[in-house]
Symmetry: C2
Subunit: 424 residues, 2 copies
């Protein structure tokens, strides 16, 4: 049976370990491999220390078919990746005259003298082939190595994100695609289910039977509070076969989790909401108290949202709720700002005042102060006004700090709106 | 002799390897350790696969005194960190009744039934001590392990960045600080030199002698194009001793690199510029063609910049250069927009029109089109107008794409301004 290609990432650089730079290259690599139907098996970050890098290259070669290194290709004394890979491969260095000529030309173009140390960047492992880098001076290269499991290719890219992505996309991915086309690796296919309304543990329990019945299928859970994202991963030697099985399992998972699933795929909640309204030709207004503009921000972050979103009102003060949203002062006095009646009145007011088909409102206690026994931090009321009438919902969100309470409330507002719009 | 404490990071989670999530926790850990005078020796990311996690915990314990794991503490089937650490430690799991009671209370507060699977989050390695998590349901824990080098502490935090930072800052850092105070670890002290004007290789060559003379000192180079950041790292058993040596070496490095060093420390170029002008009580205006607002953006990103920056004009079209900056149409016609005369006139115009003490201007060919043999992509003219007169500078920047040409041009504009302001 064909095995899945084993790919491991090795990032080299003190700056990745001392807090100066966050490594985004590993994520880019993982993302690109996922889209191809491959997976990154592990990632390691090591400092610019020769013995450590050599050992890490050897260890990576023992567990992978392809190793991708990042960083350490510059001209200074702490740039040692080429030497370390050569040492791990048991070979010397070669001088790449063509790569050197390109470096020289770059300096000449800028009319500055080239320091002798730039020669270092053209010293590559003797057995490597060069990857021309159109985005910077350091060439990439691919070095063959013998690992514990057989022959391995070590691909070395500069750490500069732009240069890394250039060599990843223009050099490595086409070769991997060709290997997949030749049937040289199993293919992974993923389906994401997006859920809001159940805890992560509850979602996990509902998928317990599916996991037991299909031990070959991987199920991943991720809490993007308050949303739970579930991924079902299927592998097969042929893509079509994997796709079909993934669709079947995603459908079963959706049924098992139930109504809290609002979507399948990569479409986030705000885009899902906008699409639902756009399909009806409907418009939306937003009236926010405790979320203070977060709901409007999430929606308007989406390109093209202006065809749906008419506008929003942030109504923190009671007088703004009255002046801008026509919430009667008597209702505020009788029920308090955090109440079902005010949530309804805010949604109705926004819908009428902004001339939208739909409106969503939030009013709650985001904290850290302002909570009471009756209305504790985390209590939020939501109003949803639409062509068919107005509804209100109440949520008691966990008090994990003001920022998180507001984020959760914004997500719930979108969820309640989607529910109503999907039914209408 | 006291050794430096060896700390290793181990991130657990498929989502970190398949492109869904970029790991920011390792950077946060590295940053916090750096500030304390410690260092992160290596970092590893592994998928949610039991055998892989157990092996990675053991391998980390063999090379470290302290291992910090991140992720895999949730309630679902793919959350296996506690089990894996227990297995690596050769112990079973214990049920932490107090941690469980806290989880139950969180569900009760939200009036939703707690799924049975949340019990998993209270099953911790038998020999561990619990770290109460005030930001979420999953408790952290510390498990003692015997590694190849001696006893090791494995600290396990949730992967959610907020929860990770909470346990890092409130639990781990105080304990590490206490160890340092007891003299239980060597201390690292870093000095950063910020340079703009030499290539990375040229800076490296100038520090060659310093590196040779001080083999115990680490020198790190980082190209943040066009800036080169150099770090000198000194270790000693006492902090005061390390600080003194670091100051001495930083002074030597500064002298060796020469005039391209514009600052020492973490203050970025734009803040350095603003400080120089603020100290004189001077104000600034910006006139940008090819940088299209980037110079003004970098400056106004700094809080409090409004006391210096009067404003800016983005003058792409020639008619705007004339109408808003009084660049004579005849000068544009005679010399072209990308010229010394226009750069000077733009700076003069901005200074006069916006009533500022200083003004900086940019006009160049950012590409990808618009270049000619005479004025290629990457050619930029800068004007600096100040109380003592107006100067112009020319740069031929490497054509690594429009975005990078513009970034480099903006940095050079700030550098030329700083040079003039420091002399004036």
């Amino acid at each position: 049976m064909t095995e899945a290609l084993r790919i491991v990432s090795l990032a080299v650089g003190d700056e990745l370990l001392d807090g100066r730079v966050a490594d985004g290259n590993t994520k880019d690599l993982g993302d690109a491999l996922s889209q191809l139907g491959l997976e990154l098996c592990a990632a390691r970050t090591v400092p610019d220390a020769r013995a450590v890098v050599v050992a890490a290259v050897r260890a990576a070669a023992d567990e992978a078919d392809v190793v991708v290194t990042s960083g350490g290709l510059g001209p200074t004394s702490d740039d040692i990746t080429a030497e370390c890979i050569a040492e791990a491969a048991g070979v010397g260095l070669r001088f790449d005259a063509a790569a050197f000529a390109r470096i020289e030309a770059m300096f000449a173009l800028r009319s500055i003298p080239m320091p002798e140390s730039n020669r270092r960047q053209a010293m590559l492992p003797a057995t490597s082939r060069t990857l021309e880098n159109e985005q910077g001076t350091a060439p990439g290269f691919v070095t063959p190595l013998m690992g514990a499991r057989g022959p391995v290719e070590v691909w070395s890219f500069p750490g500069v994100p732009r240069e890394y992505r250039h060599l990843l996309e223009d050099r490595l991915l086409p070769e991997l695609r060709a290997r997949l086309d030749r049937g040289a690796s199993r293919v992974l296919v993923r389906r994401t289910l997006r859920s809001l309304g159940l805890s992560e543990s509850a979602v996990g329990e509902r998928l317990g039977a599916l996991e037991r019945d299909n031990p070959d299928v991987r199920v991943q859970y991720r809490a993007a509070c308050p949303e739970i994202l579930v991924r079902v991963i299927v592998t097969a030697s042929e893509r079509a076969q994997a796709e079909a099985r993934a669709d079947e399992l995603a459908a079963r998972a959706r049924a098992d989790i139930g109504a809290s699933v609002y979507g399948v795929g990569d479409e986030p909640l705000e885009e899902r909401v906008l699409r639902a309204l756009e399909n009806k030709g409907a418009t939306l207004a937003v009236a926010e108290s405790c979320t203070g503009g977060l709901v409007a921000k999430r929606l308007t972050d989406v390109p093209g949202s202006s065809s749906v979103v008419q506008g929003g009102v942030v109504a923190y003060a009671n007088q703004v709720k009255t002046a801008a949203l026509d919430v009667p002062a008597s209702v505020l006095a009788e029920h308090g700002a955090v109440s079902e009646a005010v949530a309804r009145a805010m949604a109705d007011g926004a819908r009428a005042r902004l001339g939208a088909d739909w409106a969503i409102s939030t009013t709650g206690v985001a904290g850290p102060t302002g909570g009471s026994e009756d209305k504790p931090v985390g209590l939020v009321w939501f109003g949803v006004a639409g062509p068919g009438g107005t509804a209100a919902h109440k949520k008691r969100l966990p008090d994990f700090g003001r920022e998180r309470v507001r984020e959760m409330a914004a997500a719930w507002a979108l969820r309640f709106l989607l529910e109503a719009a999907d039914v209408a």
